[in-house]
Symmetry: C2
Subunit: 199 residues, 2 copies
DNA sequence: TGTTCACTTGACACTGTGTAAAGTTGACAC
DNA sequence: GTGTCAACTTTACACAGTGTCAAGTGAACA
């Protein structure tokens, strides 16, 4: 997601603020994290945070992009393209995304909660969803080339299905509720996708 | 969910407050709905709302239970038990729940957003998730009795799968994002479940 | 007629966001 | 050394929203 980053590199403090936000959001959840918490965690004053971000909403949106960048999501997802067969590529894509989910879960929830109030957050979330959709479309297209797709499934339907499998929010909640391990969770997603897509 | 309701019937005003909350949450999303909005919508003063509910969080939690009751979810879901075959029962269960999702979506989102801050909201959400899980388990058990389940799928795995299919939050977001109609969405869920569960 | 209940009005304490203004500190330029 | 610039600090405040409190109203009912 968001391969586009600002040309000049992020200032040290800005970056530290984003790291703090990330850490706190993962630990306490968006509703419980205040601007003052983030400032304290960073070791600066609350007002200093506003020197770098105009609002809480923009800070949270920036945090998701920051994590994407730090964790090299684009590279991770791109790696799935080197798989030999279509099915391996599908598995690799799901694994790359599935293993990334826990890292962004806290922030993703923040983004979802913000949607009612903030236009940017709404756009950021829709972008994420669409990025996953497009990634899925590419993986499914590779599968299609291998002719392993059952005839009655159009690519679009397959993409929709995969997309639903990969949507962040409820999967991670379910994972926690059901007590699945991360590995089991990824395996479950892969098996589900295979079952859905292959005859 | 929550077949248990308080013995004495809900006061008229209390019920009207809950209806207002429901309407507003569906329209604007939890983050944008204030206590004063709910009061105004109901035609009473803000303070009067606090005569019926001790806090915003408890009001929102009560709203989910109210919708469940008004919309007769328990009955709707129970109706699926009268289906003849296991597969029909599965379809009926999914349709009952799937058609209910849009009605509670706004409130469900509110509940999710509240989780970080409020213990009751957390419990209410977990209850919902578990109720769906148990409903799924029953539907899958019926399928199992029909011996239509593929051998390698344990009931537990099947339940997990179905559960993931039925989780409210991301499905409804996806439905909107992808522009699926309600009917197409339910059909998609049913087909996905069948593919996952049957060989 | 008096009491009670549901509600109203107005005031206020508290928390959190965001803004504004003036002061500090360190680095770097000359 | 002196000046200056940027990043940050402290203090203060405006504003919105939640939740509380106290006194008052008005209709129903005994």
């Amino acid at each position: 997601m968001s391969s586009a980053q600002s040309p000049k590199q992020e200032s040290d403090t800005r970056s530290r603020i984003l790291d703090s936000a990330w850490k706190l959001l993962a630990g306490k959840g968006a509703g419980a994290v205040r601007m003052s918490d983030i400032a304290k965690q960073t070791g600066i004053s609350r007002q200093a945070v506003y020197l770098h971000f105009p609002s809480r909403a923009e800070l949270l949106v920036a945090t998701t992009r920051h994590i994407d960048q730090v964790k090299n999501v684009d590279e991770r997802l791109a790696a799935s393209r080197s798989a030999r067969s279509g099915i391996e590529r599908l598995d690799a894509y799901i694994a790359a995304w599935g293993n990334y989910i826990p890292e962004i879960h806290g922030v993703a929830r923040a983004l979802i909660a913000l949607q009612d109030q903030d236009e940017d957050a709404r756009a950021a979330w829709t972008d994420r969803m669409n990025a996953v959709r497009h990634g899925c479309a590419a993986a499914v297209a590779a599968l299609s080339r291998d002719n392993q797709l059952s005839a009655e499934l159009s690519e679009r339907e397959a993409t929709d299905l995969l997309c639903s499998l990969l949507s962040v929010e409820s999967w991670e909640q379910l994972r926690q509720l059901c007590g699945w391990s991360q590995a089991r969770y990824v395996e479950l997603m892969q098996r589900t996708a295979r079952r859905a897509l292959l005859r």
